[in-house]
């Protein structure tokens, strides 16, 4: 406490967009805001991308083939890649919140570690499935 008076720490109040660029979030904060961003993304994609693709995929063998054709389009693949990341991140970070609700890993060190972990796992899953999507294997 004593050295806080001699060395004033930067204060961030009423964050504006310009402050956001310099504001350094801890790993758990990054996982949290990305959880929100990915959720919003999936919400927007729901009737625009996900349900239409689902509709094409189940109706008839012909529409199934059409769906495959759509998905083979590179522009569509990029949209799907972003949505895949969104799903993976929302899924992994969501599991983390459920464990936090169960009072598992609530201390500062482990919650920061798990925040970094879920962000990384989601990105790794996106890379693996992205390579599959773009036909690397």
């Amino acid at each position: 406490m004593s050295d806080s008076a001699t060395k004033p720490r930067p204060q961030f109040r009423n964050l504006g967009l310009t402050d956001l660029m310099f504001y350094k979030l801890p790993p758990a904060g990054k996982a949290s805001i990305l959880h929100r961003v990915s959720g919003a993304l999936l919400f927007l994609a729901l009737p625009l991308v996900l349900v239409p693709l689902f509709a094409q995929s189940v109706q008839s063998p012909e529409t199934f083939a059409t769906m495959k054709e759509w998905v083979s389009n590179p522009a569509c693949k990029i949209v799907l890649l972003v949505l895949m990341w969104g799903y993976f991140h929302h899924f992994c970070a969501g599991i983390r919140y459920l464990t936090l609700d169960l009072h598992i890993g609530n201390d500062r060190a482990s919650s920061q570690r798990s925040g970094a972990l879920v962000t990384g796992v989601a990105l790794a899953l996106t890379v693996v499935f992205g390579l599959k999507l773009f036909g690397a294997w």
Partner: protein, 126 residues
């Protein structure tokens, strides 16, 4: 539920919709996670993942009971309810003028209801 008092007199009461939303958000999340894992396991272990087997995941029956459709409906309603709570929280955090927030919330509801109807129409005509 035990009555919580602040100080000697004040009794804290409420509509408890915060508690309800908390429980709904978690239980729909668990349901969707389980459904996702079931779909992934099915996709991995089904002999060949083609139109027929993909469609069967959503349209299979047990006896005369349309279990595939019922489970998919349950999962999608969970998506919609979960998304409503999440997106409403986003508007509550960032959209402060009452009129703007109301408009955004109404649009959110329309967006989600449209998705549910679209999905249900496709699913139940399989």
């Amino acid at each position: 539920m035990t009555q919580e008092r602040i100080g000697r007199k004040r009794l804290v009461v409420g509509a408890h919709y915060g508690t309800r939303d908390f429980i709904v958000q978690r239980s729909t999340a668990v349901l969707m996670a389980v459904y996702t894992l079931a779909l992934v396991l099915y996709a991995i272990f089904v002999p060949s993942l083609d139109f027929e087997s993909w469609r069967a995941f959503f349209s299979f029956t047990v006896g005369t009971l349309p279990v595939g459709q019922l489970l998919a409906t349950l999962a999608f309603l969970s998506v919609a309810w979960h998304a409503w709570i999440g997106v409403r929280d986003i508007w509550m955090d960032y959209a402060h003028p009452d009129g703007l927030r109301l408009v955004l919330q109404v649009l959110t509801i329309l967006w989600l209801v449209a998705a549910v109807v679209f999905f249900a129409k496709i699913l139940w005509s399989l």
